[in-house]
Every structure is written in structure tokens, then in C-alpha cells.
Symmetry: C2
């Protein structure tokens, strides 16, 4: 039976992200004898490794006779090269899919059931469509508090968990996002670790925004650290600013985020579980969470922010994590740069105390650092802010930031985008509001974060008065296609800045 | 700008079902200048046609330089051949996706919003992941009565709508499924059209079952009729037994069903909208719906059946359709054959009045035909049953069935499966129950409906007394892989038949 289902692997070279695809000829004996049809879920085995793959049927000679084409991720997970023998059979039934169907029908899932689902997802037993189904029925407030706690624990259990010997308390900081710019994390890490607190920061890349902290830090240094390197950096400096995805913290979350991104879906329960599972896996004990609130931010109302704070605190407590949520003003972008390189530029300017440093970014970072200090020693927010300000303005935060980036592989020079387009004010007046969502979308259309230098640089923000011909922002892109696409978006839509014109 | 994004089409030969995929080289200028990345949604244009496709990035020489590989459906929809020029740009934003996100967050969708979503789906603007998201949040009882009505109307509006001139009333019949065998439709159509009622039956293929009526009828005649042929057959015989998918009735539904199948998801609201939209599009005015109720049928309880009857009747009435639901015994399979060819065998046996004809199938068909007669002239169920029995037992139904199939292209000979395995009783006793779901799954594992001759033939059913060595059923398959997989399923699970053994 096995010899009959034997084929040779063929490197077809197609990148299908995390979902393995197998390309089999329509006239292939194995297809016929196993009774496969397009989109069959099959088990491909080689070297005692196996992966579950989705079948695409191929007509013609793209795949040679006697071979099965494998997408890059399938080749990689099986550890095979072209010509190596592989066998292909029907995939076994993924039992936990019946639990997903229970959730579709509104049943609450138990810890045990969520663990089974997350474990099967992290073992790559779900197709992308099946992950999309699971995420969709968990989004929109459909997870109970118990389910979010269960999902958090299940995601922690699916990956590595860091331990920081000698550190009784390990601090962390996170922003739920939705505000373009707002790159406070590198500043907070530098300030609080300069004061001696331990803050091994692992960040994610952008899900639906123009940049995540890992994208921004990658413009400045190496973020793709091995576990050993990360531990060395933290041992030496008390902190790090690394990409969490490189060290297999909560791998199920990475698989889920990929599909959330494709669906532009970022559900509340999923968000809480994703954030807290990463913090728990990173070995944190105390976390400050920044929740910007504004009608065009991710969190639109104080009611929504309170709900999210409640979930973060309760789920955190259930998992042994002290969580403090800080509601901040999300009515306008923070900082002047949007996109990895431009945000990095702002971070450096604030650390170096340069004149062009955006004041709102600096003050937001000082506030969040103050909350970390208050969590640590109960000093109160005002005293915490003063302490943070002293560290930043004395240059100690910049010095600490340089030590961290030095340990991570050195500070990089920032690049520049190839194409620039400056948007000017066509009327005089005072800026009443800025649409954060559309600003973020514009930066993404311009190419951020895939093109690190792409994005926006703002020259005006809410409350500023502008004259005709004053610069509002500069659009930065690295390809003509993206530039043109972003320009078409500007031309076709209502203005991103709303002005009160002088009467 | 356009010349820069110009490539030549390359027939890569990959069958990606309904979702167009474009395979572009990682070193392709267009990829770079447009800023595409893996899984980007792009618009491919040629001959003034364009399709939205999902990008797969290709490394190496599977796609030659200067070319873009297109999956079969992309080539077909664009009407291009290898070497024809195509241009590739970012896909425009699909506005109705924001409405899907509203549904994710629990908002009720209006008629107008559902029409936009369904229209975009039928114009192939949704990726498979996006369709999966929409279906998942509509499943599990999450559609209100108004939404189901809105979805039904939107699906009718997305495709062709038939009109039957001269026929004031047009009858139809549907079974919600879940019961293996139970192929009453060809019998009901033959009986009621022999009595002079108009019944232009368009059926679907299997979604999650071992056969749909269209699959079974395809074993007997041509079901892939053009609209003109279908109208001719109905004009001559008052009826037809065709595949609905061939004539673009409710094309959105076909796209949705494909993803429902991959997710093994068959939501209540989706079911009602799918069934009624097909009936409305087929020009029906009166529909009898068979709802088998049983703990291992699709509808498990009378409560659930009542809910479904309510939805069918209300949505039907809102759309101008008279619907009667008939709740039937769904505790055991109906008929002896499961799978296209074996079910066709039973249908012919009943029509010809052969000794081996399954009595339960015959009686179920007579009951449903009686309900159609009662809807037509208020004769009452008993008189309707007698009328149906007379037509069947006199041979007029068989004569009418032959006329219909003759007009559709002639009656085919039934084939036979290559591999047979007979399951014998290992204990004596009376059969207490049969698990319909596991029986259906077994028939599917054996290869039904993709292999028409695959499936099962039952030799015993609930209530029968068997001795050791009596045949319970025969497993039929056309490939060794499917046979072995089905046998492994039988070996590994609890028995499908539950016996009360003699004490």
C-alpha cells in the first residue's frame, strides 16, 4: 500500500506562507488510487516527518510525472529536497474541528477544548480556511471571560516560555494600537531599564497597522535574536527590544495573526489572549497596557476601553499577571513619523533631546514609564514622571538605548524613501481633527511596513493653524506602484485633515 | 504606468477551483514596482476583462521571466492564452467587506447591505478566506429572519431567473438532507408531472453528503443542460431533472457552497436562503420541503425541525413562495443504495415496480407526492397518496421518467464499482439503530460522490433481525486507497449498526 502512494518531491518554488500546498498531476496514480480531488486534505510523509497539506491539482507538465510539487513551507517542514521520496495519503480527521463547530453554534468552549484547538493549530493541522472560521466566530465579542483565559493559557502552552533567573519582577509594556506613530515602547524600555528595572521586551510586527514595534526596531538594529542572544542581551543590559516571532513564543498566535491580517480582523478576545499570552511566555510579571481612545483609533469610546481594561486585568489576574491599563488620548497621531524608518527617526530624536523631537511622543512615553515606576515602587504618577524625565533629559536613556542596540548587533543608519510627495494646505485654518484610520491606511498603501522607509511624515497635527501652501504631510514610498496607489487614495477620498477655516 | 506593469500570461496549469491565483516571480519588476507581497490581492487585466486574484510568490524558474503564472480559473475568466499580455495592479478595496465586519460584530445587515455583499461575492471580489469569514459569522443561528429573507433575495438577484410561460403554478420539492439514500426527488417528479403538474426540477450536487440529486441523476442521464435545452425538456414533458449549477441560477450560492463544503459547515440561515433562492430563481411558486428528523439526521429534534419549518415558511412568504414543510422519520436510512449509482439503482427499481425495490423509499416518495397533490387541489393527503400510488403502480411514472430522460439525452446504463467488501453480522439480533452520519461518512470515504459507483448497498435496516453471517452492507469503491481508508474507518470505530442481541 505504501509503495503505491510513493512519489518524488519536486521543488515548485511557490511561497504559500504557512499553509503547505501539494501540487499533484491530474493523471497521477496516487491521486487516482487514493481518490483525491482538488482541495483534498492530505498527509505527506518523508523522513518520518509528516505535514497536512491542501491539494492543488495540476494539468500539464508544471510537475513532472512521478513527482509531487511541494510549496516552500511543505519542503521546509518535511526537510526534503527535490527527488527525495514522499508518500501521500488521506489526512486523518482533525477531531478538534468538531469543537470549532460547537463554537460556531454558540457553545462556550472549555479550557480543555481550547487547548486541543490551539494545539492542533500550532501543529499545523488546520487549513487557512479552518483558521479563518475559528477566528471569525471568536471575533466580535463572542469569547467569554473564561474562554479568553482558556485561550491565553492554551497559547502559552503551545510554545516556549522564558524564565528570568534572579529577577523577582519582570516588567513589560504594550500598546493595543490604532494610533499611527505612537512608538513609545523603545523609549519606555530605555527609561525604565536605565533605572534598573528588568524589561526584556519582545514585540510583534504590524498586524493591520503601518508598523509594529518590531518593524520599527528592525530599522535600527537586529531584532531577529536567538533565545541565547536575547538572554545574553538582557543579562548585560536588563532589557532588550527584540522580535518575539523569532523565538517561538506563542507560535499558535503567529499562525492566527497571519489570517487575522488577511481578513483585517482584530477581535477583542483574540487581542487580549494574543497580548497576554506573549507577555506570559516572555516571563513578565507586571504589564502596563496603553489603550489610546478616540473615534478614529482602534478603541473608539471610553466604554469600549473600560471593557478591554476589565478583560486585560481579569484574564491577567487569572493567569498570574499584574496588569495596569492606561487610557490615553487617541484623538490624533502621536509623533511625526509613520512607518518603520520614520518612527525610528522620532525615537532617536526624543532620546537625543533634539529640537525636532515630537513633544507629544516624548510626553506619552514619560507617562507610561511613570506608570511602570509606580507599579514597581508605588511612587505615584507625578513623581514617576519626574523620575522618567530626569533619566531621559540627562541622556541616560539614550546611553541605555545604545547599550541595548549595541548588544543586539549595533545601531543601523536609517535609510530614505525613493519617492516623496508633499501635501499642502489648500485653505487656511485650524486643524480640527485627523482621521487616524485613513492616515494609517495611506501609510500602508505607500508601502509600510513591507518597505521600511515608506510611510508618512507629518508637519501639522490637531490644534495647529496652517496657511495656504503650508505642508500638511509628506508621503514616502519606495515604488512607483505604491506611490501612485497612495496618491489615487488621497485624490479619491474626503480629506484626512479636517480644518476649521477662518471666516 | 501601465507598460511598467505589463507581463505575459503563463498557463501554469494549477486548478485552484473558483479562487484565481497569480504566481509571480520574487524578482519580477512588477512585484517590486507595485510593492506586492505574498497574499496581496491584485487586479489582473487583459482584453478589457479583469479578475481579482491572490498573489503567490514563486522562487526559481517555475514561471519564466517576464511572465505571470495564472491558475486555470484566472486564465478562463480573463479569456487569455499563454503569451497574451496581462497587466497587474493592486486590487481596489472591496467596500462590502466593511459590512461583513459589521456582521462579525453582531450588527444586523439590511437588505441593501446583503445585496452588496452577495453581489461582490458573485463578481468574484472575495477571497476564499473572506467568504469563509462571512459564512462562519452567518452560521450557528446568527442570521435573523429579516437577514435570511434579505440574503435569499440577494442570491436570486445575483443570477438568472426562469419564467414558465403558460404555467400559473410551478411546483418543486426539496429535501434538507442528512439521510443517506432517500432519493425520492426523481420519483416525485415523475409521479406529479405524469399527473400534469409542472415540475421543472433543478437540483444541486452533494454539499456534505455522499450524493445530491444531481449526482444521482447524472448516473442515469445528462444533467448538465443549457437553459434552452432545459426549457425544451419542460415544454415537452412538464418536468426535468437537471443540475441547477449549469444554468447560473443563484451563482453566489454555488460560490458559498464550495467553501461551506471545505469547512463542513451548513448553517440554518444559509440553508434556507440557499434552498429558497434556488426555487425562486427556478421560477417555482409552490414547494414541498422534506425535513427528516432523527438523532443522527441533519435535523436532530422536532424543536429544530419546527424552527426550520418556520423559517422556510416565513422567508418563502416574504418572497412570494408557498412553502409546505413535511417532517418525516429520519431515524434510519431510506432505500438500500447510498452513493450516486446505487441510489439510481433503487429509483429505477421503484419506478419499474421490481421485487427488490426498497419499500421505504417508495412509500416516502408517495407521501411527498401526496403533499404536492394536496397543495395543488386540496385533495387531502390520503387521496393524494392513492392517486400517487395509482400513477406509480400503473407504470405511468416510469413511462414519464423515460420521457424526461429521453429528452435530456437518453437513459444511461449503470456502472459497477471495482472493489466490494461485504460486512457480515458477527452476532445475532435485531437492529436497534443505524448511525446515519457515520454511514454517510463511510460512503464518502469509499469515494462517493466523486466516484459515482462508490458508496454502500444495505442489506439490513432498523427493525430487521439478523443471524451470524448475514450481510449487513456492502462497501463499494473504485480505488484501493479509498477502499483501504473506508475499511480503516470501519475497523477503528464503534459499529454503525447497533443490535439488540438475543439473550
Amino acid at each position: 500500500m505504501d509503495s503505491a502512494s510513493q512519489l518524488k518531491a519536486f521543488l515548485i518554488g511557490i511561497d504559500t506562507h504557512q499553509e503547505p500546498i501539494i501540487y499533484m498531476r491530474d493523471d497521477c496514480d496516487v491521486c487516482r488510487s487514493e481518490g483525491f480531488s482538488a482541495r483534498s486534505r492530505v498527509r505527506v510523509t518523508a523522513n518520518r516527518q509528516s505535514v497536512i497539506a491542501t491539494l492543488n491539482v495540476v494539468h500539464g507538465d508544471t510537475v513532472p510525472e512521478g513527482y509531487a510539487g511541494l510549496s516552500n513551507i511543505a519542503m521546509k517542514r518535511l526537510g526534503v529536497s527535490s527527488g527525495d521520496p514522499v508518500s501521500v495519503h488521506h489526512a486523518p480527521v482533525t477531531e478538534s474541528l468538531s469543537l470549532v463547530r460547537r463554537k460556531v453554534f454558540g457553545h462556550e468552549l472549555s479550557q480543555d477544548e481550547l487547548t486541543k484547538i490551539v494545539s492542533d493549530i500550532s501543529e499545523h493541522k488546520y487549513s487557512d480556511l479552518e483558521i479563518a472560521c475559528f477566528l471569525s466566530v471568536c471575533a466580535g465579542g463572542r469569547l467569554t471571560l473564561n474562554e479568553i483565559t482558556g485561550l491565553t493559557r492554551a497559547m502559552v502552552a503551545s510554545g516556549e516560555r522564558l524564565h528570568w533567573e534572579g529577577a523577582a519582577r519582570v516588567f513589560d509594556k504594550h500598546c493595543v494600537g490604532g494610533l499611527p506613530g505612537n512608538r513609545t515602547t523603545p523609549l519606555v524600555v530605555a527609561i525604565v531599564s536605565a533605572a534598573g528595572l528588568v524589561m526584556p521586551k519582545t514585540s510583534s510586527r504590524a498586524i493591520t497597522s503601518p508598523a509594529g514595534t518590531a518593524d520599527t526596531m528592525e530599522a535600527l538594529t537586529t531584532v531577529n535574536l536567538s533565545l541565547a542572544d536575547l538572554q545574553r542581551v538582557v543579562r548585560k543590559t536588563g532589557a532588550c527590544l527584540a522580535w518575539g516571532g523569532a523565538i517561538n513564543l506563542s507560535p499558535a498566535d503567529d499562525l492566527l495573526i497571519r489570517i487575522e491580517r488577511a481578513l483585517d480582523l482584530d477581535g477583542e478576545g483574540q487581542l487580549v489572549a494574543s497580548v497576554l499570552s506573549k507577555k506570559l511566555a516572555a516571563g513578565s510579571t507586571h504589564v502596563v497596557i496603553d489603550i489610546p481612545v478616540g473615534i478614529t483609533a482602534k478603541v473608539r469610546s471610553h466604554e469600549e476601553a473600560d471593557r478591554l481594561s476589565f478583560l486585560f486585568s481579569e484574564v491577567g489576574a487569572a493567569c498570574g499577571l499584574v496588569v495596569r491599563c492606561v487610557l490615553t488620548d487617541g484623538s490624533h497621531p502621536i509623533g511625526s513619523g509613520i512607518g518603520p524608518v520614520e518612527e525610528a527617526r522620532d525615537v532617536i530624536a526624543v532620546l537625543q533631546g533634539r529640537q525636532e523631537a515630537p513633544d507629544d511622543l516624548k510626553e506619552r512615553a514619560l507617562l507610561l514609564a511613570a506608570h511602570v515606576f509606580d507599579m514597581a515602587d508605588g511612587c505615584g504618577i507625578e513623581e514617576g514622571q519626574q523620575k522618567a524625565r530626569d533619566i531621559l533629559e540627562s541622556g541616560r536613556a539614550w546611553e541605555q538605548f545604545r547599550r541595548i542596540t549595541e548588544e543586539q548587533g549595533g545601531l543601523k543608519q536609517l535609510g530614505s524613501a525613493r519617492f516623496r510627495y508633499r501635501q499642502l494646505a489648500t485653505d487656511p485654518g485650524t486643524i480640527l481633527s485627523v482621521d487616524n484610520r485613513r492616515l494609517a491606511r495611506l501609510a500602508k498603501l505607500a508601502g509600510a511596513p513591507e518597505s521600511p522607509a515608506a510611510g508618512l511624515r507629518l508637519f501639522a497635527n490637531v490644534g495647529d493653524t496652517v496657511a495656504v501652501g503650508d505642508s500638511l504631510y509628506e508621503l514616502l514610498s519606495d515604488s512607483t506602484g505604491e506611490r501612485d496607489y497612495a496618491l489615487a487614495y488621497i485624490a479619491g477620498e474626503a480629506p484626512i485633515f479636517t480644518l476649521q477655516t477662518e471666516s
